[in-house]
Amino acid sequence: MISAIRFALRNLWRDIKSGELSVLLLALTVAVLSLTAVGFFTSRISQAVALQATEVLAADLRMESPHPIPQKYFDQAARRGLKSAKVISFPTAIFRGEANQLAALNAVTETYPLRGHMRIADVPFGTARIAAGIPRPGEVWLDARIIAQLDVPLGGTLKIGAADFKVAEVLDYRPDQGTGFVNLAPAALINFADIGATQLIQPGSRANYEALFAGNAEAVIAFREYLAAEKSAGERLRDIEDSSRQLNSAIDRASRFLNLASLASVLLSAVAVAMGARRYAARHIDTVALMKCMGASQSFVLWISVVELTILALFAVALGSALGFLAQDGLAYLLKDLVRSDLPRASLQPLPIALVTVLAMLIGFALPPLLQLKSTPPARVLRKNMSAPPLRYGVSYVLALAALFAILWSLVRDTELVLSVMAGALGVGLVLGLAGFGLVRLTTRFRGGVGIAWRYGLANVSRRGAGSVVQIVAFGLGLMVLLLLAVVRGDLLADWRKSLPANVPNNFMINIRPDEREALEAFLKAHGLGTPAMYPMVRARMTAVNGTPAADLKLKGDSAKNYVEREQNLTWSRNLMDDNQLLEGRWWTDADIGKPLVSVSSEYAESLHLKLGDHLSFDVAGEPLKVEVTSIRKIRWDSFRPNFFLVFPPKLLDGAAGTYMTAVYLTPAQRPALAQLVRQFPTVSVFDVDAILRQIREIMDRASLAVQYVFLFTLAAGVVVLLAAVQATRDERRYESAMLRTFGASRGTVLQGVAAEFSALGFLSGTLAAFGATGIGWLVAQRLFSLQFSLDPWLWVIGLVCGTVLVGLSGTLATRSVVNTPPVVTLRED
């Protein structure tokens, strides 16, 4: 074995010098480059996204308690190098003379907020700016609604508890103000030092104490473990996992886009490795026969190849990851305005993944030809037509599929995504194979009506038979992935952005009394805010499922318990909402109006194990109501439109006393109208979700930029596949070109023939790639991203033109040197 290693080392150097391994090395290096660059980069981006999510908490970690939080936690945090802040919040009335307004009072320490920024404005509902610091002692920052209600000017004085405060700023936004409808009352913010002076905190007072912590990610994780072990009953930890449903949905989609792009690079590189390894085996078959003739054993021959390729893999990992690291650093530089400067360095985690992936690629895609190579009969030295018996199909296919699955899964850990990508690739490979076979047969018919060069080129396509089919499949797969990324990516991103257009409602209004409805609608219309849909809302408690009382239901998970224990908002609607998709059952017909039926959301159905035909009982303001589940809907929460778990047909709940809610889009210029609205409709509560919308748009922008960058690596992998495919037939072409030129064909004729052959291959690959990309794009949009997929004619134009031009041109260019070799040189070598 030692002599095999020594021999392999010497052989490797010779093979590298002679260019035998160049395609394989290039394919492996590009695979590692894309893997590590994507790995390094996504680790940084996901950290950036996670950091952005931490803004929702105003910290990395947050503890909440009904009792004062022990000082030992803050001391411990300081010892671990973490920053901390304290918040006390409770509802209280704020007085201006006799007038008063209920407010959520928040007292904060100097370091608040630890993540994100507060924004303040000079006039109620005016343009906001980032706040530096917190209110000074004796000052209060107030929500515009309180200022409007109490009609107090900036600089005026208010009373909170026993203390007087000067109104210093209009409080526009706090990072942790809540993204749902949790904090109903408008907020007031004071300095933590003033809390004593208000004398509002007395023994037995109801207040919420909060501790905020932030710092280095590892220290935060360790501190979280410490707090989880130390905390007493009533103390509750919240971290970024708890961030809102909408933000999670957006982050999840962003990471799926990135993963899809990196999967594509790996898939293409695997194709290139398989082709490179086949060529390696083909080029070494004579050498192996000769070596066996001179006494080399089968295991010796296998060892040489294995050692050579392992060293090659290590070299590719070193080179590729160095380039990958540089590439992601370059990206971080390009994105320096978007990615926060306090991002930790990229972790080295992608390195072992790259090494394992490259080894898996070699085992899955390079080992089968090598196993075949070792069985080369030595008698080949006497008779050239003798070659190794083919491997049993099972071996090579199982190896390749297992390796592919392992690689893809280790990369994304998302079985559904991996399986759909693999199924898509294999399906398209099969279709391409069959279609390629069809074309090869078809070209024979066209040969009669064309000139000599085309006849030669088309004859080549059909004569090479299996070789042509392999090339069509390879080109087709490469083009398909490129199309998917170039066009479908654009479509998906556009659809995604369309799901969050610029005028998506950024202010929600709830608690609209039925008698106020018309007046409010008139108000909105008068202020140029249109006539937004009014959603009726009735509060109700669920009492039974299929006759089993709610208390007796066996439920798992907090959400299921919430659905049963909390009051639910019921609504009714004639039509299915735009951002709802019917998964099961049917929507109301005219005959269903007023009947006891209900449509439930998929989350609700899953948590309570509901199916069509189940019966739910509700207590609606003391009146029992029993309804049958007739449909299950999937709600796109990131559409930011009002949505309800439970929707009833119209007229069923007419007798119940309810309120309405609506949502409107306000431009910054229209915001002052809110002050008037709050005064005119004092019971209507207005919620501003502009901040979280902005956050989600930023995440979308980053994700799309990242995908475009990752796309570059996929493009590089596609080019390597093309090179590998051209290389695979290089030797054969050299000989043919020499023969043709010997018989009198001009260089131009031979070159035209080559161009005809590659263009024909490219045209068909392009056609099939467009088919495949359409199919997979549809599948991916529907299944993975829940988006509507619209057929893009550009997919076909780009597929056909790019296929023909790209493959035709690059194939011809890559073969040019072969055609240019004087025939005598080639014929002498053979």
């Binding site: 021999f7 010098k17 001179m294 006494g295 054993s297 030595p378 030295v381």
Partner: protein, 224 residues
């Protein structure tokens, strides 16, 4: 079996199965070659010369019969076992030279030595190339050498391991008459110097005549 017999074939036949039925390429051939002997296997194209050579060298296995090299029965060995026997006792010279294009002349000659794990491969290969008069061509690649030079490299490679038995398959088939003559002289000279046994396949009567013995095949049968 006499100790001086290095190669022996007993009733060797080769039958292959093709879609048209089974075909006998070689029928019942026996021979024995003593150390230092030179044997020419002659016959028309398709007579079975190359098949016999492949069987004698253990590159292929006979359908029936036995082949012994230096007293070892090749038919009892597996492929690796036969490879080991070749590595120890056998050298080859081929019609199309079979030099590895990515290796220099020196590296091509070093190959069999490296395969057998010899540490002094470089020096031994250099000496072998000096013997065939190619010292100025050590670092040339096969495509930079003429046909005659390439075959001289192949001869150096065959003799560098001092094999007891040398098989040559049409060694002058790809060369012009004058060059072929020089190569033949070199082959016979080295064979004498190294005291090896030479078995060559040729349809060149002049070359066959230089051998001590001739075995003639016709349609797979030994006729002389």
């Amino acid at each position: 079996m006499s100790e001086s017999i290095v190669l022996e074939a007993n009733n060797v036949s080769k039958t292959v199965v093709s879609p048209e039925g089974s075909l006998t390429i070689l029928a019942d051939v026996s021979l024995s070659v003593a150390a230092g002997e030179t044997l020419a296997i002659v016959g028309a194209s398709g007579a079975g010369k190359s098949t016999l050579l492949a069987l004698l060298a253990g590159l292929d296995t006979p359908s029936t019969g036995k082949v012994l090299i230096a007293g070892t029965d090749l038919t009892l060995l597996d492929e690796d076992g036969r490879a080991a026997v070749r590595g120890k006792h056998v050298g080859f010279v081929f019609q199309s030279f079979h030099l590895i294009p990515s290796l220099t002349a020196l590296e091509n000659v070093m190959l069999p030595l490296e395969l057998s794990g010899r540490r002094d491969a470089r020096n031994a290969a250099r000496a072998a190339l000096e013997q065939v008069g190619l010292t100025p061509r050590l670092s040339h690649y096969p495509k930079q050498l003429s046909g005659g030079e390439q075959q001289r490299v192949a001869i150096a490679r065959a003799f560098v391991t001092h094999p007891a038995l040398l098989f040559a398959d049409e060694p002058t088939g790809n060369l012009d008459t004058a060059t072929g003559q020089k190569i033949t002289d070199l082959l016979f000279h080295l064979n004498r110097t190294m005291k090896s046994t030479l078995v060559l396949v040729t349809h060149d009567r002049t070359l066959a005549a230089r051998c001590g013995r001739t075995l003639q095949l016709d349609a797979g049968h030994r006729i002389a």
